[in-house]
Subunit: 373 residues, 2 copies
């Protein structure tokens, strides 16, 4: 039930000794999902408490190198360090990202003779034409994976926009529903929404004991939403004996963008945590927008519009040194100033603004159900 998010790299454009290139890991009960994988991510992982071998899914927001160049090396190193127990189930690593990603991996791994010891599949998102200027769009020829698949590559899906919901449906399991949505950037870029399913509320055990039902299999059936017949013939329904559902958590992680396209607002509605880029401060707003990037204010406006509870800013220009390295001088380059600019927008909304740094871990607690005690 624990869920947290760790930033492995918070710098834009390239990795530096002070800020790694984009990468973050969402952990839930030990399962790790990696979002973006700039160069050096594998080394950042080694410096963090996260084990690379636990990464089961990878999400690439867009194909710029500072979000992608670390992926072939990371997969190779995970494979090299495989022990018999660490991936004994031969589980397929699922990789999601824009069209072209499958070819990138096939060529990078193929030419370097990299033979992974675990299967992987690349599921490609088909961008739409309004996500980027024309010069940022890749031709079908360039992105077609015409090389034969590598021995460990499994067939991946090609995922198109669901026009009804204006989102990309990536997958769902018994715990999560995961979607992608469109952003506007110099090249097609995506945001990802991880939405945990609601859980049944706490069982009112005191009440059950009062009517003579003691702990046993019947408790499980009630919790699973089924009616139960008591020894005296009385049938009780779960609604009376369960607290309200515990709402599932929602974490939204946006790739580089100067704005989200329409669906972003809907998909991110009520997010527990919105992770948004803030490449440059307000003084450089025009430059940011021109390059398809955001300022803290732009990020905060989206957070407010979708009623997010917390906003984490990341993907800072390398001009913004981490706070502990900042020396007196140009206040314009103070990273704390970026937080201030976002807080200015959100001061009436009691939205917490978090400034990400490399290796920062943000806990994402369960929301209490309304009637829980």
């Amino acid at each position: 039930m624990s869920m947290d998010l760790t930033f492995l790299g918070t710098g834009s454009a390239y990795p530096s000794p002070h800020r790694g290139a984009s990468a973050l890991v969402l952990r839930n009960d030990g399962d790790c999902w990696l979002f973006d994988c700039g160069e050096g991510t594998q080394t950042q992982l080694m410096k963090s408490p996260i084990r690379a071998g636990r990464i089961s899914k990878v999400f690439i927001s867009h194909l710029h190198g500072d979000h992608l160049f670390g992926l072939p090396g990371l997969l190779c190193t995970v494979s090299l360090n495989l022990t018999s127990d660490s991936r004994a189930d031969d589980k397929c690593v699922e990789v999601f990202g824009p069209r072209g990603l499958r070819r990138f991996l096939r060529v990078s791994l193929g030419l370097t003779g990299s033979q992974l010891l675990f299967p992987y599949a690349v599921h490609e998102l088909e961008p739409t034409l309004d996500q980027s200027p024309e010069e940022g769009q890749l031709s079908l020829e360039m992105t077609a994976a015409n090389d034969p698949p590598l021995p460990q590559e499994r067939p991946g899906r090609n995922i198109s926009l669901d026009t009804l919901s204006d989102a990309y449906f990536l997958f769902e399991d018994d715990k999560f529903v995961v979607k992608a949505f469109r952003l506007f950037h110099r090249v097609p870029s995506f945001g990802f929404c991880v939405h945990e399913r609601d859980r049944p509320g706490r069982l009112k055990t005191e009440l059950l004991k009062e009517i003579g039902l003691n702990p046993g299999p019947a408790y499980g059936r009630l919790k699973a939403g089924h009616q139960v017949q008591l020894e005296n013939g009385q049938v009780i329904s779960p609604a009376e004996f369960l607290d309200e559902n515990i709402p599932g958590r929602k974490v939204c992680i946006l790739g580089d963008c100067s704005s989200a396209l329409s669906s972003g607002l809907n998909v991110c509605q009520g997010a527990d945590l919105l992770v948004h880029e803030a490449t440059l401060g307000e003084a450089h707003r025009d430059k940011a927008a021109e390059r398809g990037h955001s300022t803290p204010r732009m990020a905060a406006e989206l957070a407010r519009a979708c009623g997010a509870r917390r906003l984490a800013l990341y993907h800072f220009s390398q001009r913004y040194k981490p706070e502990h390295l900042h020396r007196d001088g140009d206040d314009d380059d103070k990273v704390s100033e970026l937080r201030r600019q976002a807080e200015e927008v959100l001061c009436d909304d009691s939205v917490e603004v978090i400034l990400a740094e490399d290796f920062l871990t943000i806990d994402i607690p369960l929301r209490a159900s309304k009637s829980s005690r």
Copy 2:
């Protein structure tokens, strides 16, 4: 005239926080040549005194990821940080490496929309069939660069083995002759030999003054090897008034290998510095050879056979921590033990053995000419 070599990464297989992946820079008078470019090389460069923008040539020994995955990102970052003065001459970055490298760069840079602001050319070395087992050879289909060239890509040469010299002639200029030679590894791998041209010896100015020739243009003509006529009509020849030639330095940098093919011995003969991998210690000799790698003893035997003056060992398994991090425990994992194993072979040859660490710089001094005072 200054020449030195800096190790940016000395680890094998993958980069770690203690040892970067393979990369080293040979500097001569400010011009920087990069040999191999594992993931994270750009960050290692930032931590070193070397400016990435000064790299004019890149040599890739073989296509394994730990020698290559940093190259697309490095080129992008150099381009991003270009200032009007740093590469105002629009000089072409020359990249040398095995067949397949051109395609790797074209696809990696193309799919990530990386538009370099400087021209580059990839010159491919055609491996021979005896450099690697059959399963390590890449098909012509896989290595063919069929995508259209990127806007900044200039035509590169395809370089075949010169059967007469059993070497690959890469280029020469007024200061250097640079060749490659074949190594045996799991995939085709190459060594590079940078051979500085001999320089004329010191002018015997005392002798010239004795015969009445004072400093002036005649000195330059003598130094350049021309005869000079004195005022009295006497013709003097340079041989009498010059010390012996100062022999050019020779630096040989070998990629991963379990042995050099025949020409290696000839090309490396008399090297001032031989840089050789030593992935595993003698206790793991069979494992090393099986994986196409060397032990310190194997490296030392080559150094002795070609009469090298100094041997630098690098490309250590990540099990060998840098000396300052070594804790008491298994002596088998002591990196100093690797030096000892090489020295054991070379004890009678007065060959200096150097254990490379990340950021170590080795000065390569001019050899004195025999008659210099």
